[in-house]
Symmetry: C2
Subunit: 203 residues, 2 copies
Amino acid sequence: MKRRAPEAVNGKQRLVQAALHLCAGERSFSSLGLREIAREAGLNPNTFYRHFRDLDDLGLAIIAEITDDLRAALREIRRGATDATDAARRTVDYYFEFVRRHPQAFVIGSRELHGDSAAMRRALRQVLADQAADMAQDIRVAGLAPGLDDATLADVTRMIVYQMHWLTLEYLEHPKRRTAIAEHAVRFIVMLTAGALALHATP
Amino acid sequence: MKRRAPEAVNGKQRLVQAALHLCAGERSFSSLGLREIAREAGLNPNTFYRHFRDLDDLGLAIIAEITDDLRAALREIRRGATDATDAARRTVDYYFEFVRRHPQAFVIGSRELHGDSAAMRRALRQVLADQAADMAQDIRVAGLAPGLDDATLADVTRMIVYQMHWLTLEYLEHPKRRTAIAEHAVRFIVMLTAGALALHATP
DNA sequence: TGTACATCAGTGAACGCGCGTTCACTGATGTAC
DNA sequence: TGTACATCAGTGAACGCGCGTTCACTGATGTAC
């Protein structure tokens, strides 16, 4: 295949897809090999270097491709919420729908958060930190947690984001329990904010 | 060193120590090689096979060595608590002290929870499930969460255990923030139980 | 409209390396008689 | 108390393999004139 056939997609996309596909099962991204990905993509190992500097480069590209979309969409959703429970339910529903649309990317993200690549770890932690900060700001702006001081709010959103990381993996691994997991997520958020308000609200 | 020198520790222990040492930094256990561990232990690669079937076997041994002790100690601690906040504080304090005593084992455990080895993943998830079940039972027996139904209690303890997994990694990675992280953990537990009681308690 | 040239995605062969694993061997310790 | 033997942790050489990376090359597309 030396011709740039019109039906053959971009080699770069094929490498990305191959990596996603290989991680769909139980493999972690950092256990993948360059040759392995190229093989899966039906390309010569060398071709990898035409598109990415190394495996970290590919991993970061996968993360970047998704996070911006998700971030913007979640903010949009939350801005329209009327109360805390409503915001929680709508955010969780939308989030899991997004997860369902990009299962492989999320499974990679969740696993690499504590994985071997320092570059990917750093990038993913930043993603979570951003999500927590967004959430805190949206809650503040929409007045969903009246009387909660900034420090507690930051605490709470961090805890929520951490918990969602776990639930995302469970969600992906147990398709049959998805409804239950989504409900569990909403319950968690509601419980935690209720507890925070009960203990820390200034009247 | 062909003699079984009295000062030379058990080769098995040396291999375990070598693996722990190699994971002390940013490496994950599943990225270690058999030869690498043997090299670190100052042993011939072959000697590995005298003690372990493969790398999973070693990993599971490390997990098993610690979890039983921790589990028993935590139960003991909780049984003596007088109220929920007291139980939370004492459990968290003791837990983090335990983490400080075995930092490498915990860092391995926390990373391999979503790591490459299916065997280690399974074992570690069982550890967390056991911890959550223990906690629920202890809370029930000590009457620390009166009026909370079993399902909600199970939910709450699961969430706590998940959250502690994260906080353990942060605790190990940021020695300077340890006091703050321990307080954060207590706050989390108190908030969550307060929220659960506020929403679900049967009068 | 043609032509010359740069660019760029792809190929295939080759490299040196570290890996997991197997083999046959060694020598110290524990045990039966 | 001695001796023969089994066990067991260790050694060192060798294997085949897949890896990441480099090199020189190809041929299609885009662009300047």
